[in-house]
Symmetry: C2
Subunit: 364 residues, 2 copies
């Protein structure tokens, strides 16, 4: 089949770095081949740098970000465990669903979509939660939630953070902030196709691993014997070799650029896009001071649309006439706004220039 090459400015996947695609084409090695083990170890080191952590158990779960979410709950939460979950978007809601399937007593703390969660409300929601769980960067709204305050006051609870859209795009400080369990995805600010979920687990959390989690595939006790460095590596499941080449290469690009430079690039792109949208009279959805640079949510009022066109028609025109993908809104923003991603290799000023110019043409 012929194959388009869209500029991926939706909520993920982003365009992968060219080096990642090159890595995917490398010869496949066996999952116990010493060269592959070395590459996996190096990918772990690179993840520790990006997560800013010394956590030994830092690796890529062999499935997408949502499986990283599931792994982060099933390994630490069992029947009757009180779990406080902040919800101000789709992914906080998903956490509640996943925790409930572990039998948790879910204590849900809502904030309006587009607004950040209030850390004090989360801390006051239960006297002795086993876990406090929060989405760091809500992909459904473009809002950043505070983790540091939660980490400083979590008490005996484990702090669990969804870093799917934050990692590599905004500052993530696992050790400094006291995050115990975190997961991410490859297809956002790491610039790699979807397929893996980089996770990290603190020493404190390791001591609370469930011995027999309900998931065999995501059982960290068993996986640790394969992915961490002591002695012979015990086969658990066949690692997704080529996808790990891609992650390893993407992290290499990120660290060659420098983590601070990558974060600054994401920030500069997001600032330019948001300023351009405001300049054109659009209203941003996420609360000021809590906006993500890598994911911008914006209202698209009917009066800005050409006669007879819906916002979905404009997105289709962008995709098929310009080869640019942006995302539709969710929740209140469904049918009334867009989500625009600037992540990984997509986070380039030229893409901001392109999208704003294309919108000027389409909406004139």
């Amino acid at each position: 089949m012929s194959h388009r090459d869209p500029v991926l400015m939706g909520p993920g996947p982003c365009n992968p770095y060219p080096e990642v695609i090159e890595a995917y084409s490398r010869p496949v090695l066996g999952h116990l081949d010493p060269d592959f083990i070395a590459l996996m170890d190096e990918a772990g080191d690179r993840l520790r740098t990006v997560y800013r952590t010394d956590n030994k158990l830092t690796f890529a779960v062999s499935a997408t970000g949502s499986a990283g979410m599931e792994a982060s709950f099933v390994n630490f939460v069992g029947p009757g465990d009180p779990v406080v979950i902040g919800v101000n978007g789709v992914f906080g809601g998903r956490m509640c669903d996943v925790a409930a399937r572990c039998g948790a007593e879910v204590v849900r703390v809502d904030a309006p979509w587009g607004q950040p969660l209030e850390p004090q409300e989360l801390l006051a929601a239960h006297p002795s939660p086993k876990v406090i769980a929060v989405v760091h960067a809500e992909t459904s709204t473009g809002v950043r939630n505070d983790l540091a305050t939660l980490g400083a006051s979590k008490g005996d609870a484990l702090l669990l953070a969804d870093c799917v859209t934050s990692l590599g795009g905004i500052d993530v400080r696992i050790d400094e902030w006291g995050v115990d369990v975190a997961y991410s995805g490859t297809q956002k600010c790491l610039g790699v196709p979807p397929g893996l979920s980089p996770v990290t687990v603190s020493e404190r959390a390791l001591g609370r691993l469930r011995r027999m989690p309900q998931s065999w595939y995501l059982d960290y006790n068993m996986i640790a014997k394969y992915v961490t460095g002591e002695g012979a590596r015990a086969y658990h499941h066949t690692a997704p070799i080529s996808s790990l080449y891609g992650l390893h290469a993407g992290l290499g690009v990120l660290l060659d650029e420098g983590l601070e430079h990558s974060l600054a690039r994401h920030q500069a792109c997001g600032d330019a896009l948001q300023a351009g949208l405001v300049e054109r009279g659009f209203e941003l959805f996420a609360a000021e001071g809590h906006r993500l640079p890598q994911l911008t949510s914006v209202w698209v009022p009917d009066e800005r649309l050409p006669e007879g066109m819906t916002e979905a028609d404009v997105r289709r025109a962008l995709l098929f006439e310009y080869g640019i993908e942006i995302g539709g809104g969710l929740g209140d923003l469904a049918g009334k706004g867009w989500r625009i991603g600037l992540m990984g290799h997509t986070a380039r000023l030229r893409n901001v220039t392109l999208l704003l110019a294309a919108l000027d043409e389409l909406l004139q």
Copy 2:
């Protein structure tokens, strides 16, 4: 890093078809892009052909074969459900572990490793099992287990089959044999890198889907709304785009060759290898009449090894001097034998010739 390109003759992964690697390098599309949905649908059609089924719910789980196993249990088995599981190798044992984590009452029926399971023993093991589960091709021993007899006499039970190593390598007839739930892996006889698990579910099994399985990530109710063809596709999780390109391409290679031709090629390669090993005085591990062509297990007696070398030393010499990976034994065969795969693109007579010649040199 420099990158070796071993001939992968272990128990999987195999060498991928060149077209698969090319497909991995295609531009990434969004997971809701109509071109990607069309590719995913076509991959489903191709899977139906290879599985010989009309099952509507036939798709690739977004994780490796072991996640396909877990999906096949969590969607159909709950606390207290009696599940009969045949065990004559590692993967039957893994099924027991996975089923137990669903709360199943596991009724385990063992056969000696290297021997096939006895269908009548499985059928007699419980008066009204909810599921009867069997590994079609035991990768740990090289034994083929019978499915057709179980399907014909399963009664009200669902027949669940592990087709990880069988699909594309030996005959798999889902509809004709009455298999209700099956899963496979990409990295065996489909000639694709590891990462996805092609699964199929009969109409009969669809009627027994658990409404709220303990896994969110593997919830077939939710995934079906994304992967099957009715109306708008509901986002569940971000599909692993590039891996699906690879699977789609690998299935294309297989079907261009023709399913019967691919099976015959696997058979011819296995026959040649097994004859060559017997000719050299080696004893095959798997019972005659039940041997897989794509996975050969063989005893390696000490007297066949060069002075001072273990079987592991020979495997290392094959890997580092010849660039050939073969697998070590498991169970009784651990340290005493090998497992040699001829799967997917690796299933070529030239690889049989190469391995036998290399062994002649190393073991002379």
